[in-house]
């Protein structure tokens, strides 16, 4: 049991190190950089050109992509426990998993045929 936690202690240490590194870099930067405030410096950087104000409503097409991503992410989560237990689950598990994946592939085919993946 303690071994389980010890393994995750490494994860915690890494997370701590990452946070410390970010703090360190920003902190050192703050200490050594010169401070000369100018109004222009506070404008949002938009690849060189002046930013156009307001809120651009994004295209609904992006949403379909995000949704496809969620659905196939959920599918992936179901594949993990099957993959690590492949041998004891045997042919039965394989067949069930193939059915599961095929049904979801049909969803991808649907999205494709209906043209929501086309970007024109």
């Amino acid at each position: 049991m303690t071994e389980f936690y010890r393994e995750y202690l490494a994860v915690a240490v890494l997370i701590g190190a990452a946070l410390a590194l970010v703090g360190l870099m920003l902190g050192v930067g703050k200490l050594i950089r010169p401070v000369r405030p100018q109004a222009d410096k506070y404008i949002t950087y938009e690849a060189g050109s002046d930013p156009v104000g307001g809120w651009g409503q994004s295209n609904v097409r992006y949403y379909v992509y995000a949704l496809l991503f969620v659905i196939f992410d959920v599918e992936a989560v179901f594949i993990f426990p099957w993959a690590v237990g492949l041998e004891p689950l045997g042919i039965f598990g394989l067949v069930e998993m193939v059915v599961f994946i095929l049904i979801l592939v049909l969803g991808l085919v649907y999205a494709w045929r209906k043209g929501v993946l086309r970007w024109a």
Binding site: S58, Y62, Y63, L67, P81, F92, G93, L104
Partner: protein
């Protein structure tokens, strides 16, 4: 196991503070980012309970996918992302606070009454229970019908979402 207790309380306090941030924040995008902290805290709590697989599902699905969906959803709206305090606030916030505290109090009292003083026996078998192998074995032995129906459900969700999102 006082180490677990300390980690639990650290996580719980961070999660509680971030949860308050979710509802208090005037900026929807900030709310979503606070939500990431809450969800990550929940994942860490699962690790603390030796439920390894659930913890990583939490990271993959919730932090990885659902939050992305939230952000896309926010970007779809027409409202400016700025600090429009009228839209995200409500006169009923005190009533909501009272209700939330009441539910918290009642559930805490009942949870302590039901489970107070009980110890979870941490050991290798608990870790094994939360492993992907054990979940896979349950999935394919007991829950095979729900498993296959979930694929039909996801297919229907996809079809429905595409219908709703199509412009024609």
């Amino acid at each position: 196991m006082w180490g677990q207790q300390v980690v639990f309380w650290l996580l719980a306090i961070a999660m509680g503070a971030a949860a308050i941030g979710v509802v208090r924040s005037r900026d929807v995008v900030h709310s979503v980012l606070f939500l990431v902290v809450v969800l990550a805290g929940a994942a860490a709590q699962y690790i603390l309970l030796a439920a390894e697989f659930v913890a990583w599902v939490q990271v993959l699905i919730y932090i990885g996918a659902v939050v992305v969906l939230f952000l896309f959803g926010v970007m779809l709206t027409r409202s400016p992302m700025g600090h429009d305090s009228n839209r995200l606030d409500n006169d009923q916030r005190w009533a909501a606070g009272v209700v939330a505290l009441l539910i918290f109090g009642v559930l805490t009292a009942l949870l302590v009454d039901a489970f107070g003083g009980q110890q979870i026996n941490f050991g290798p078998e608990l870790v094994a229970q939360g492993s992907p192998q054990a979940i896979g074995s349950d999935l394919f032995r007991t829950f095979i019908v729900p498993f296959e129906v979930v694929s039909m459900l996801l297919l229907a969700a996809l079809v429905g979402a595409v219908v709703m999102a199509r412009k024609d």
